[in-house]
């Protein structure tokens, strides 16, 4: 193992240790997790008749994914003959 990989491993370990030490500083709850079910998540995501929930956010994500798809297709398309 060369020196740069050793340094990378040490840096990554330091980063992980920092994260774990940070979590150790907080008194974390010792209990069962919340019983959040798919219905609650679905209602929050797509909203209900009274509350739109996060549905505008979902539309924005859909547009973002479409733009990313179009951008990827544009970048990856084959150049025509003689085109820069």
């Amino acid at each position: 193992m060369n020196l740069s990989k050793l340094f990378a491993a040490a840096s990554a370990l330091l980063l992980g240790a920092l994260m774990i030490i940070t979590f150790m500083q907080v008194s974390l709850p010792v209990a069962d997790p919340d019983a959040t079910n798919n219905t609650q998540i679905g209602q929050a995501l797509f909203g209900t008749a009274q509350d739109p929930g996060f549905s505008p956010l979902m539309i924005m994500i859909a547009i973002m994914l479409l733009v990313a798809l179009l951008g990827a297709v544009f970048l990856a398309k084959e150049d025509k003959e003689g085109e820069q």
Partner: protein
Amino acid sequence: MIPMIDWLVFAALLLIVGAYGVMTSKHGILVLMSIEIMLNASNITLITFAAYSSQLHATANATGQIIALVSIAAAAAEVAVALAILLVLYKMYGTIDVSKMNLLRW
């Protein structure tokens, strides 16, 4: 029941693996996969705190899970664009070794 700290330590281990992969691999796709591992670590942390939100906050809801879903969608978009960029780089350089791509112009 798996204690909360175990999930957080698992996320930290994923972060270590991802960070090591980003720092050591020269292959573009491996770097991309390592970034995705780090992103998954952040998602696991987010979901862990969201799952225990009733113990941590006065109001508990599914917002944390939804933010993780947004993060996953953003990661999908990022991967699509990154793979297209790697494809273009391969056409221009004939390699996707990121250590050889040290110029911002060509």
